[in-house]
């Protein structure tokens, strides 16, 4: 399996270079943001927003967190994409070469999961380093504590790992050359999952929307349900980080077992 791991990492060589550039870029951007939020134009904008009563302290803090989170998600997102491995193998026709090697189907599937796990680890390490710089090295300007950063990184890593685990399962299920379709299927499944989890809110929202449309926007009293803001969602996810971690582990394990099962049934897919 080590040989396939090496091959997979060779396939991701270009992406690892892009990741290295992104990592440096993200680090510089994040430092610039933190400095500006403390002493520069962003700090000024926040002071104005507070003075005008548009935002409160909590929202300003959360906004900074979102900005840094979005920036920090980039290096991991660049690295953790198992479909690129499948696409690279499909293009080369490597599956038939692999099928002739003295490796079981289980080991061949495991090599894909292990590779993305290694890459996820590298991405997490990079983000932890950025967090360390922003919260410990630049402690005087720190907007977010190291602990909060770690929590956010756990959330990012969980979301990416879940997405990737499902993506790889669908790549194996749909077969070589269908990587784009696999990603579309993953997005569809996650969207349906989110809708089902929030079905109550979705129904209430739909009802209110119908009422609003039927009465006309001016007469409508607004939705009865409180719609969550992005701050609420981030807060909720971080509160439930442990649950998210367990769910991620469960989905990844399930995806791994199901992938091996499907690959054994289909044969020749990996």
């Amino acid at each position: 399996m080590k040989g396939l791991l090496i091959k997979n990492l060779m396939c991701m060589k270009k992406r690892i270079y892009v990741f290295a550039f992104l990592f440096v870029g993200v680090l510089i951007m994040a430092i610039m943001y933190v400095v500006s939020a403390k002493y520069g134009n962003i700090a000024l904008a926040y002071q104005n927003a507070l003075a005008e009563g548009g935002e409160d302290e909590f929202n300003i803090q959360a906004l900074s967190e979102i900005v840094l989170l979005v920036v920090m998600i980039l290096p991991i997102a660049e690295l953790v994409d198992g479909t690129k491995l499948f696409a690279s193998d499909s293009k080369a026709g490597f599956a038939k070469v692999a099928a002739g090697m003295p490796l079981s189907i289980g080991k061949r599937v495991s090599s894909f999961f292990a590779t993305t796990l290694i890459l996820l680890g590298i991405g997490i390490a990079a983000d932890v380093f950025i967090a360390f710089v922003l919260s410990v090295v630049l402690a005087d300007m720190a907007l977010i504590s190291f602990g909060d950063f770690i929590l956010s990184i756990v959330v990012i890593a969980c979301v990416m790992a879940m997405f990737n685990a499902l993506n790889m399962l669908f790549c194996i299920f749909l077969g070589p050359g269908k990587e784009q379709k696999a990603t579309e299927t993953t997005i569809t499944v996650i969207t349906i999952g989110l809708i089902l989890i929030n079905i109550k809110k979705v129904i209430w929202f739909a009802k209110d929307l119908i009422i609003t449309l039927s009465k006309g926007f001016n007469q409508a009293e607004g939705p009865e349900v409180e719609i969550s803001t992005v701050f609420d969602i981030i807060g909720w996810i971080k509160d439930k980080a442990a649950v998210l971690l367990i769910v991620t582990l469960a989905i990844s394990a399930l995806s791994y077992v199901a992938s091996i099962f499907i690959a054994k049934r289909k044969r020749g897919a990996v």
Binding site: K2, G3, A92, K96, V97, A99, G100, P102, R267
Partner: protein, 295 residues
Amino acid sequence: MDEIRNVIEVKNITKDYGDFKLDNISFAVPEGSVCGFIGQNGAGKTTTIRLILDVIRADAGEVFLFGENIKNDSAKLREDIGIVYDEMGFHEFMTGRDINIMMKNIYKNWDEKAFFDYLNKFALPAKKKCGDFSRGMRMKLQIAVALSHNAKLLIMDEPTSGLDPIVRNEMIQIFREYVVEEDHSILLSSHITADLEKLADTVVFINGGKIVLAGNKDDMLETHGLVKCKKEELDSISKSLIVNVQPGVYGCEVLVNDRAACEKLYPGMVVEPANLEEIMLFYVNKAAEDSKEAR
């Protein structure tokens, strides 16, 4: 006397895809021999090879490699097999060095020195991306990989198709050198019969998912003959000798399955030796006519 061991034994294999069926095929490749697996495109050669390598599973029947059923541990058995396909299969960005790093971590018996010696021998630059190689170079790279882990058996699926005659000849020479070792065997699938005529000890003919002819190549060439005669003379030839009849330049051409008997029975007729290509064509046409009649 030692019993001859079969490195490949295919027993009553059936695989039904709906639109194509590999129908109860059986054959064996004895140790130390070269088996030519002949058939036109779509005859079932690649499917059979995929079944032998346990890439796909048969609906019925069994495959034995080196005397062991592949169902037990096909991955372990593949350690002793070198495989060459009609297309390369390695990523185009990979160099010979990259492939060496990958393979030495996959095959227990990977011989790094042998691999680089083969690259030198085949004039393949180790630092050049294999995507920049010509078709001939790509095939040679596959052969270098297949020969560098002390494989006891080479399985090759159309390795010479699309290559110019000079490269094809070079490759046949490489295969000849490989089988000099007593325990080395080759299963060579091809529709280029001229290559097999130079190399094969035994031949297995497959057509439409069925084995139509199998046996020793020299015996096959020795027994079969081509009779060129007029249509009126055709009725005088015993039906049991005739494999198939095709229209020819001066009347018709008849493939007979016992040249010696034909020469003896019909001294006035000219019976020429038939080559593998002619034998394949006559058998394929016969199978087509038989299936037409059956419908």
